[in-house]
Amino acid sequence: MTNRIGFVILAVAGTAGVRVLSQDAPVVPADSPPAGELLCRLDRTVASPGQVVRLTGLIRADHDATVREVWHDAVRVAEYDPKAGRLKNLKAGLFYPVGPPGPEVFENLPMNSTTPGADGVMLWDVQTPRVKGLEFEFKPKQLGTFLIYAKWEFTTTRQQVEAPPVLLVVRPPMDAKGRPVARPEGLDKDAP
């Protein structure tokens, strides 16, 4: 019975495109971009308004592609509650998009960065034997927790790849006693 269950699990994994490796096979860390896919990282997951955050998008170095266009989007999944002095998670059905996105939420994170025509090429900011990628430094301006999405369009083929979202928590700085120092500017002024 146990063997039969194991067989079924392997069969399902096979149909899902998952390779089952032997124990001796080399393993690349899961935070490396899979073949043909885009993976994003933040250099920090918690920041205060005004702090510089770096978003790095990476593809494998052997992926024969260049980028002509980049899109960024964000969804708010927690709001700052000024009365409670803390971030309050939203229920999953109540997440809402940041937008229309503008510098009032993330300064210098472009909604869209493009090159004209179909054959534009962006220079890589990161190039290593394993990965190549683009970096964007920006400053969060509002308090909250955000899922940040990135999408790239490749040159010529116009193929689009979308990265799994990365999470950024924007909290107020704290005073010496650990109490949040929230200022009205950091609240979502567009929230009803």
Binding site: S32, S48, G50, Y96, P100, V126, T128, V131, E185
Partner: protein, 245 residues
């Protein structure tokens, strides 16, 4: 909030934390910090991005000094220069006063949202603009400038076509607060979806005209067609915005 007070606020907060990672740089960087586990011998970094000028150049003021200089084209057989820019849309984002009905113990909320005075704009991006060393001639600069002028004009046309966008949300729940929250999330999602539609149209038109421009001028190497486009680029863009039924 004024831009000045915004800057003071950000600077003050940024200054409160002694964080060596926060170098305060703008735009894209040289990328040699995040990949320590990826390599043993880092290759030479990409060319530095010129410092962002206080006022970004426009199609009329763009100079070669605003571009990154590279030794070879980043793609084999590619062009000698390329301009890049960012697109953004901004406006006054407002929620209407919501309405809530209580029917048979269920709350039904309705909430409208709109963004008026929408301005769609492009901004030269020094991080994605480059020229191959030795190719900084006046003719090629003229070609790249016209790319930006076309992009600026398309953005103006989109701003005129879609000055206001709106969305309407609704939500039902057993509590008033949750019904309102659902309606708000729905309204924000509807507004964003409308915004995305406009931006998609904007990008499609811009890319179509820019591709035509590159093809007809052979990326600037056809001086006759380059001159023709310089005089008539607005008419070419206007073709993408038909008037009337």
């Amino acid at each position: 909030m004024s831009a000045e007070s915004e800057a003071e606020w950000a600077d003050e907060w940024a200054g409160e934390e002694d964080d060596p990672d926060s170098d305060g740089g703008e735009g894209q960087t040289d990328g040699d910090e995040d990949d320590g586990d990826e390599e043993s011998q880092p290759p030479p970094g990409p060319p530095a991005t010129p410092p962002a000028p206080a006022t970004p150049p426009t199609g009329s003021t763009l100079q070669w000094s605003h571009f990154r200089v590279v030794a070879t084209p980043p793609r084999a057989g590619g062009e000698d220069a390329q301009i890049g820019y960012t697109r953004a849309g901004s406006g006054q984002f407002t929620f209407d006063v919501p309405t809530v009905l209580l029917v048979d113990g269920m709350y039904y909320a309705s909430w409208g949202s709109y963004s008026a005075g929408m301005v769609y704009s492009v901004r030269f991006n020094p991080a994605t603009s480059w020229v191959v060393r030795g190719n900084q001639d006046a003719g090629l600069l003229e070609h790249e400038r016209l790319h930006l002028l076309i992009a600026e004009y398309v953005a103006q046309k989109i701003s005129a076509k879609y000055p206001t966008i709106s969305g309407h949300g609704s939500g039902a729940a057993l509590t008033r607060e949750e019904a309102l929250s659902k309606a708000r999330a729905d309204a924000a999602a509807q507004l964003k979806a409308r915004f995305d539609q406009v931006v998609a149209e904007w990008a499609r038109i811009d890319t179509a005209v820019q591709t035509r421009y590159d093809a007809q001028t052979m990326h600037g190497s056809d001086p006759f067609n380059q001159l023709w486009w310089k005089d008539d680029y607005k008419a070419e863009v206007d073709k993408e915005f038909p008037v009337g039924p």
